[in-house]
Amino acid sequence: MKKVAVVGVGETKFSGPQTKTEVELFAEAATEAIAESNLKAKDIKALFIGNALGDIEEGQGMVASYAAENLGCHYAPANRYEGACASASMAVRDAFMWVASGYYDIVIAGGVERAATMGTGLATRTFAMFSDARYEYPSGVTFPAVFAMLTHLYADTYKIPLQKLREQMAKVTIQSYKHGAINPKAQFFGKNADMSVEKVLGSFVVCTPLTLHDCCPFSDGAAAVVLASEEVAKKLTKKPVYITGIGQASNGPLGNQNDYLPRIRARELSSEQAYKMAGIKPQDVDLCELHDCFSIASLIAAESLGFFDYGKAGEAWEKGEADIGGKVAINPSGGLKAKGHPIGATGAGQVYEVARQLRGEVEPGRQVPDAKIGLTDTLGGDGGTLVNMILERGW
């Protein structure tokens, strides 16, 4: 198996509703990534594009082919990936495997979404399509409702008073807003830096106990990364970022995960695969972009990834152990919570952030000092698809 490097990355600003089409958004991110790689579109052998809901957002299916043609990758094979919020990470992982196998030497992977364009009602309906349509949606499950139920289950399982847990969750939100406020690509750039526990707890209730500020926004945006074999990467860049570990696992409806909940078993298996492949342990990770679609999701993720003991992640956030300068810097981009969550692009956005962190290129106020190893964590549905990737400096 060949070593595979990220040689260039690109990303649009993540935002609320805007007027660029999905094809235009993806082309913008991809062209930036190709240019950064010192390549041209014609050098790209194949495209791997995450897109969860384009059919409904724009009435556009098969977005991958249109995107390939649009950005000048004429006649290149172009695949669409759908794994809800983990779509782009699935695309990057598969792109990795094609390059690792030696079949392709240069590919592009990423994703695009216009979730914000749908508006709250339709976005809430379509996101609920990633719960079980026959056995869960009839009861009126929504995505916030899944994580709201996990919050109550978490409080009950670990015997944490709900008010205490909600205050810990507010700390997650505040940390994410702090970093997102100085990330120019973030949806909440320049916003929410003065958030307080009281404001989080006192904002509009979406699903008890989650308030508006416990939830990530609906977002439009795209991200793309160019992957190349080691041999090619060395010719293209002095700072190749190697993907050294990958993992993916799946699961069924939320209720069927009952042996482990509030832990997400698919995440434990996925991250174990990635750690084993890279030959590292959780304590070796300098920064982690994890799937904080809701504040409680950060606690659940950080525990399953092995950073903190079960039931203890909230304390870690309170002590700053999950921030820059702590045990592991979690979501220095602002995460889904503040950077935004264009679901089909989110995983590629995480790779974009980790690559730039390892290269030491982000804004000084949110740069993880001397970061050498980064982890991405992306969750699709209510634990239905989990993807993890480990990236390391190649210089």
């Binding site: 929504t142 709201a148 409806p253």
Partner: protein
């Protein structure tokens, strides 16, 4: 290979307040809602059984923001109930004021009825859904 119990039969039974499941002939695990293979060991060697509908609430939420087409239903209570025979199923809790529920709900015993979700543009037709009420 035919599945032993399909959605359609499960749904028809639920409309009669009967909860059907599958008992694995290899490991005895009860699987519901229906699947091709046992949720525990993956064997397709399962037989249809009628389950007890008694259970207890494991978690809940009151939903204030509904999906498109269901805005008029809010606020409503979603629950996940652990059935006496093991599986967890999702449903609604009725007979309690949605804005008043607290963590005290967890562990409470419930009994099951049903209502029909008529479906929408994206659903392939209707589905019955479990409606729970507090027991006793």
């Amino acid at each position: 290979m035919e599945q032993k119990l399909y959605f359609a039969q499960y749904n028809e039974a639920l409309k009669q307040n009967k909860l059907l499941g599958l008992k694995c002939q290899q490991c005895n695990t009860i699987t519901t809602p229906p699947k091709m293979a046992c949720r525990q060991c993956g064997s397709p060697d399962m037989e249809v059984v009628e389950l007890k509908t008694d259970g207890k609430i494991r978690t809940f939420t009151t939903v204030f923001v509904g999906a498109e087409g269901r805005e008029s239903e809010v606020p409503y209570i979603l629950v996940i109930v652990e059935l006496e025979e093991g599986p967890w199923i999702m449903g609604n809790l009725e007979g309690v004021e949605p804005k008043s529920v607290t963590m005290e709900l967890i562990g409470k015993k419930v009994k099951m009825g049903n209502k029909i979700f008529a479906g929408d543009t994206y659903s392939a037709g209707e589905s019955a859904r479990p409606i729970f009420t507090l027991a006793g």
